[in-house]
């Protein structure tokens, strides 16, 4: 019985000494993701800064997790957010319910929403997981990170 124990430990030690390490020192070190990785959503803008989203709720209709809430309003003289008549006054995604399927991106008629490889979306409370429009919307004029600005999703 002792012999078997030693034999087993031997295998463990052999692997520990010889195989390549698979864990990384997160968060100092970050894993490179596959080219099609899709996590947190971003709402994009046109070049002139207007929001692409027209508040049509098609994403919300397509979402199998029912985690998107859109409330639309009319663009008015002096308060224009998007081209055309309609914009999203409220745009919220419940990240706890999202399954990152990308249907929203697929449904969007104006390519306003995309899923980017941004996976750091842990929070301490449930409420903080409701991402609001100002969190989702791409900053303007200077997008902070390359990830947000890259539209070739």
């Amino acid at each position: 019985m002792i012999g078997e124990l030693i034999k087993g430990l031997g295998v463990t030690i052999k692997h520990a000494l010889t195989s390549k390490r698979v864990t990384i020192e997160y968060p100092e070190q970050k894993r490179t993701l596959g080219p099609r990785a899709r996590w947190r959503h971003v709402l994009l803008r046109h070049e002139d800064g207007l929001e692409r989203c027209i508040g049509c709720s098609l994403c919300a209709g397509a979402c199998p997790a029912r985690c998107i809430l859109v409330e639309a309003a009319e663009n008015r003289e002096g308060a224009r957010y998007s081209p055309g008549e309609r914009y999203a006054k409220v745009y919220e995604i419940n990240m706890l319910r999202c399954i990152f399927c990308g249907y929203c991106q697929d449904a969007c008629p104006v390519e306003a929403i995309i899923l980017r490889p941004i996976y750091e979306i842990s929070e301490y409370t449930r409420d903080a997981e409701i991402y609001t429009k100002d969190m989702l919307l791409m900053p303007y004029p200077n997008p902070q990170t390359e990830d947000l600005g890259n539209t070739n999703a």
Binding site: I54, G55, C56, G61, A72, A73, E74, E85, R86
Partner: protein, 691 residues
């Protein structure tokens, strides 16, 4: 049979009445034909050409919506040739259509979208610039028009012309340049304008209140009843997330409102969504209304009301459910110990309530709305129907304009319906009794003198019209009986008219026109001074008007459920002064009304959109309302408030469901026998024929 025609559609034989349209015959066989301009309630015009079919013997395709069947006709619908025609028609329509479905309110419930998906071309071949118009133009403060989306089916124009007879909109230009427009400087102010929005098969006509508020797939639908007048139109409450109401749509009920609603009913969702809805009970402390718990508020209310005892009074509401009004009168009578209960604070003449009660109890009022169009003559007394009960205005217009029936319209002012009347009898205000007696004398052939300001020959003409009919509908405003001086005589004359007509073998139906969605129900369930549920006589009590008049003397405490006397049209000052004289004023309402500002206790209650229960309309049809949205804050349903107050007072009000209250009503009120939620069903149950 000479009046029937047999034809073949897609190889299937069918026999239909002569004059049937091909499309209706196909519908009977379950064969679907796409349409845009055709609507069962409008005259066919063949404007859109979508419904083309092939009929043997005709060299060219025919529009099935305006072609009548003929003996031996052979129709082909499901053939590649017809499908090709449908596809081409859709392609034509889409040439000028902006296809901005994502931002269009109709997107998701749009006949153009649906037909295109089903029968349309997969792609567009049109490479040129589409037509452009300003988006959207307001036709009125409620209706907007997006001309780019309009497919020129003319349903809107036809509705206004054929059904509402208020042709405020028209087709401008000709041919390719057609568009819908209003006349210069005259907005689309028809009181039925909202129906055109519902009729429009695309998103061209839009409601300014609903625009961008929700997409169809985000909406929950609840069947309910419009609470704004006595007709009780069937509606659907559309809400989002069970939180707020986005619109009301008409629900088809061919015995009440057909496909229509009036604008007052359709666009009246704002008080439900009012940001200032009451969310907590309020109690007056140190002269100020302050938030309190339910228990505290109800205890204070009960103490004040019970201290007053028989000097207390309760005023319920003609816009609250049967269940709420029933419990309210029971609570006042049994728990507070007062006979002063009423559903209104209108001034009524002495004895008129009793006379009306016995007429109702003897089923004198047995009229049915759908029979208005069946009768040959309509006698309408004392109501500006177009304003008071808008949907009945449409029924009368249909009877007169479409079916050629006669209207005798009696009203002091030249109201909208006067122009359809033959004759229009404009009696003097205050001489209702004299006038009806004159008319009754004329009908019965007794001699009489003109006293009420109506010409003798007009009255004679009216009586001729009534006597020569086979079936007469008599419609009389409740106010004519109750508020008019000698209203009792009005009722007697009416009975006289009905009897004389019946003795001439004229069929007569009489309808009592009430203004509240549940005025009839409130009376039926005993919220009447001097009458218990089912019009059983009880000890005398004060009317609402008298309670306010005697506030501070005979009446020291009042509980008002869902009414706002401090904003009464005619008596604001007197009522406000009266309310201030009370030792205890309890107000149960969903916002802080003018009346509630004078209250000692304010109890936040639900609106009809959060309530389960029943309304009884002007023809005495009992109909169900259902809760669409969640209760707001800590507000409660009227019935729950009363049950809680009663149990706090130690009374035995054990109801766990609203339906149990209805069961008690049906056991107490003879006319409601056997009425349950199930028996009422989705379209209501007419009670006039139940004894």
């Amino acid at each position: 049979m000479p009046d029937e025609v047999t034809l073949t559609i897609d190889g299937k034989q069918i026999t239909v009445p002569k004059g049937t349209l091909v499309i209706e015959a196909a519908k009977k066989l379950g064969i679907d034909i796409p349409v845009f301009c055709y609507h069962t309630k409008l005259e066919p015009v063949g404007a859109c050409r979508q419904c083309l079919v092939k009929i043997e013997g005709f060299p060219k395709p025919q529009v099935s919506c305006s072609t009548q069947v003929a003996e031996g006709m052979v129709v082909h619908v499901n053939t590649p040739e017809v499908k090709q025609m449908w596809e081409s028609m859709l392609e034509f329509l889409l040439i000028n259509h902006p296809l901005d479905c994502p931002v269009c309110d109709r997107g998701g419930e749009c006949p153009l979208q649906d037909n295109t998906f089903k029968y349309g071309p997969p792609d567009s071949r049109f490479e040129h610039e589409k037509r452009h118009f300003e988006k959207p133009v307001p036709l009125s403060s409620l209706v907007l028009l997006d001309r780019e989306r309009c497919i020129l089916c003319f349903r809107c124009v036809r509705f206004q012309r054929e059904i509402a007879d208020q042709p405020d909109i028209y087709v401008a230009n000709r041919g390719y340049g057609d568009y819908i427009d209003i006349f210069p400087g005259k907005p689309f102010e028809s009181n039925f304008s909202g129906n055109t929005i519902e009729l429009c098969p695309v998103g061209a006509l839009l409601s300014s209140l609903f625009r961008f508020r929700a997409r169809p797939w985000e909406i929950t639908k609840t069947e309910s009843i419009c609470p704004n007048c006595g007709v009780g139109c069937n509606i659907t409450i559309d809400d989002r997330r069970r939180r707020y109401v986005v619109r009301f749509l008409a629900r088809i009920n061919d015995e009440v409102n057909e496909h229509w609603l009036c604008d007052r009913g359709r666009f009246n969702s704002h008080t439900i969504n009012d940001p200032d809805r009451l969310v907590k009970p309020l109690v007056r402390k140190n002269g100020e209304l302050q938030e309190a718990t339910w228990e505290e508020a109800l205890t204070v209310a009960l103490e004040g009301m019970r201290a007053a005892g028989s000097h207390a009074g309760g005023i319920g509401s003609p816009a609250r459910t049967n269940e709420a009004n029933y419990l309210f009168q029971k609570f006042m009578r049994q728990v507070i110990g007062t006979n002063n209960v009423d559903y209104t604070f209108e001034k009524r003449t002495d004895g008129s309530t009793g006379a009306l009660a016995s007429a109702i109890a003897s089923v004198f009022f047995n009229g049915r709305i759908s029979d208005i169009a069946e009768s040959d003559a309509i006698l309408c007394l004392g109501s500006d129907i177009s304003y008071d009960l808008p949907l009945l205005d449409l029924w009368i217009k249909k009877a007169v304009r479409k079916l050629g029936k006669n209207l005798v319209f009696a009203y002091p002012l030249k109201a909208e319906l006067a122009k359809y009347a033959r004759p229009f009898l404009s009696y003097h205000y205050g001489q209702e009794a004299e006038f009806t007696r004159e008319l009754a004398s004329a009908v019965s052939g007794t001699s009489w003198q003109p006293l009420a300001g109506v010409r003798m020959e007009d009255i004679d003409l009216a009586s001729e019209v009534l006597k020569s009919a086979n079936y007469v509908t008599v419609m009389v405003a409740k106010s004519m009986i109750e508020s008019a001086e000698n209203g009792r005589d009005v009722l007697k004359s009416l009975q006289w008219i009905a009897d004389s007509l019946k003795s001439r073998n004229v069929r007569v139906q009489v309808m009592l026109l009430v203004q509240g969605a549940n005025t009839f129900g409130a009376m039926d369930v005993g919220l009447l001074p001097g009458y218990l549920p089912g019009y059983k006589p009880a000890d005398k009590g004060l009317t609402g008007w008298e309670m306010l008049e005697k506030a501070g003397s005979d009446i020291s405490a009042l509980w008002i459920m869902g009414q706002n006397p401090a904003r009464d049209l005619f008596h604001t000052e007197a009522f406000t002064a009266a309310l201030q004289k009370l030792d205890m004023l309890v107000v149960q309402d969903h916002i802080l009304t003018e009346t509630a500002r004078y209250a000692h206790v304010v109890l936040p209650s639900s609106t009809f959109a959060e309530t389960e229960g029943t309304f009884t309309n002007t023809e005495r049809r009992i109909q169900r309302i259902n809760p669409a949205i969640r209760r707001v804050g800590n507000s409660k349903a009227d019935t729950d408030i009363i049950i809680e107050a009663a149990s706090l007072a130690g009374a035995d009000f054990n109801y766990s469901k609203v339906e149990e209250i209805l069961t008690e009503i049906s056991n107490t009120v003879p006319q409601y026998q056997g009425v349950t939620f199930d028996a009422i069903g989705p379209f209501g149950r007419y009670l006039g024929d139940l004894k």
